[in-house]
């Protein structure tokens, strides 16, 4: 396309008619404009790249912030869970402590019950054996077993009241010369056979003292003393009384006399049925 210009009169002129100098100036101007345009464009492209990079960085940052935020929420949840678990752990530890205390209490109680059962067994067996026979010898033997083996006496004497005297009928580890009959009321044994009052030493159980026996248990029947068990010394290994020993003293005091009387009244030649002969009539008379 040919470049069209006009002259001073408005008539169209041809480019070839424009002076060369002006043409050059115009070309330089156009080139300059184009160059500047290119520069601006390049600047714009560069700026655009920078902005894109900045945008990318910001987007990355935003993503990071978002993920951090999510992570913070997770940590918050995690902390909450930890707190909840801690509370549960505390509750469990408390429950465990309570259970342990209960278990200890139960174990102690079980031990107490075991001890009570053993004590009751001792008492039951002692009583059962004491009344298991009508043989006077066996009753005396059971009496000795009770004092020696259940209570743990090493040296002891069993006495019976005979009128105004107290007579030894059985003994263990007491020299024969030390066994003697004495008057009712004389000495600790005579006194116990007179008053029915028991005496029990609480210390030095394996030490023998002439006028101070370890224990004197009056044997009672129908509210009256009929004899006594004198413990001279206890076995070396028996250093103190157990609670069951006092119960055995009670049993000895209450049952031994009765067992001795029953055995003494029984006639083995007649037998048990004959021993009860005439009993209904006697009951009738009482009524």
């Amino acid at each position: 396309m040919s470049e069209e210009t006009k002259d001073a009169d408005g008539e169209p002129t041809r480019a070839s008619d424009v002076p060369l100098e002006i043409v050059r100036e115009r070309e330089a101007f156009v080139r300059n404009v184009l160059k500047k345009g290119m520069e601006y464009t390049e600047e714009l492209i560069h700026e655009n790249r920078e902005l894109r990079a900045e945008l990318d960085a910001m987007q990355t940052q935003v993503a990071e912030l978002r993920s951090q935020l999510a992570s913070d929420d997770a940590i918050r949840d995690f902390v909450k869970t930890i707190e909840k678990l801690e509370a549960e752990r505390r509750a469990l530890v408390h429950r465990h402590t309570v259970l342990e205390e209960t278990e200890r209490a139960h174990a102690n109680r079980q031990q107490e019950i075991e001890q009570e059962i053993n004590d009751l067994a001792n008492l039951y067996i002692a009583n059962f054996q004491l009344h298991a026979s009508f043989s006077l010898r066996r009753v005396v033997r059971h009496l000795c077993d009770m004092v020696g083996q259940l209570i743990g006496a090493e040296a002891f004497v069993i006495y019976l009241v005979q009128g105004n005297e107290v007579v030894p009928i059985a003994s263990e580890h007491v020299p024969p010369e030390s066994l003697s009959t004495f008057a009712l009321g004389a000495g600790p044994v005579g006194e116990a056979c007179l008053t029915g009052i028991r005496r029990v030493r609480e210390t030095e159980l394996s030490t023998e003292r002439a006028d101070d026996p370890v224990a004197v248990i009056p044997l009672m029947a129908d509210g009256r003393p009929v004899g006594a068990a004198e413990i001279v010394r206890m076995l070396e290994q028996k250093q103190s009384w157990a609670s069951v020993d006092h119960e055995l003293f009670e049993l000895l005091a209450a049952q031994a006399g009765t067992a001795l009387i029953a055995a003494a009244l029984y006639d083995p030649d007649l037998g048990p049925v004959a021993s009860l002969a005439g009993l209904p009539a006697r009951l009738e008379r009482k009524n």
Partner: protein, 125 residues
Amino acid sequence: MSEMSCLVVEDSPMMRQLLVFALARIKKLKVTEAEDGVDGLRKLATGRFDLVITDINMPIMDGLKLVKRIRSDETHKDVPIIIITTEGSQEDRQRAMALGATAYITKPIQAPQVIARVKELLNLE
């Protein structure tokens, strides 16, 4: 676990009953009673026992003689033997152990002590 058996040799009926009562608390333990050493040997001859508990002071044959006889018997020479007696001195204890007793319990006996010793010797829970 199969049933185990124990022979109690004691001349005092009171002590025997007390021991039997204590041992009855051990599950699967059959208890046989004997009145003295000779009776004990007779009972031993009737079967196999896993444990023997014997008193020392007994008529006819005492506990120490019984221990000797058991140790010389092929069937029961390895059976554990518990001596129960009133003798508490170290000398008596050593004498019984030298003869072949496995354990020693002094009177007056405590049921838990007897139970614990028996369980230990029979490897029971």
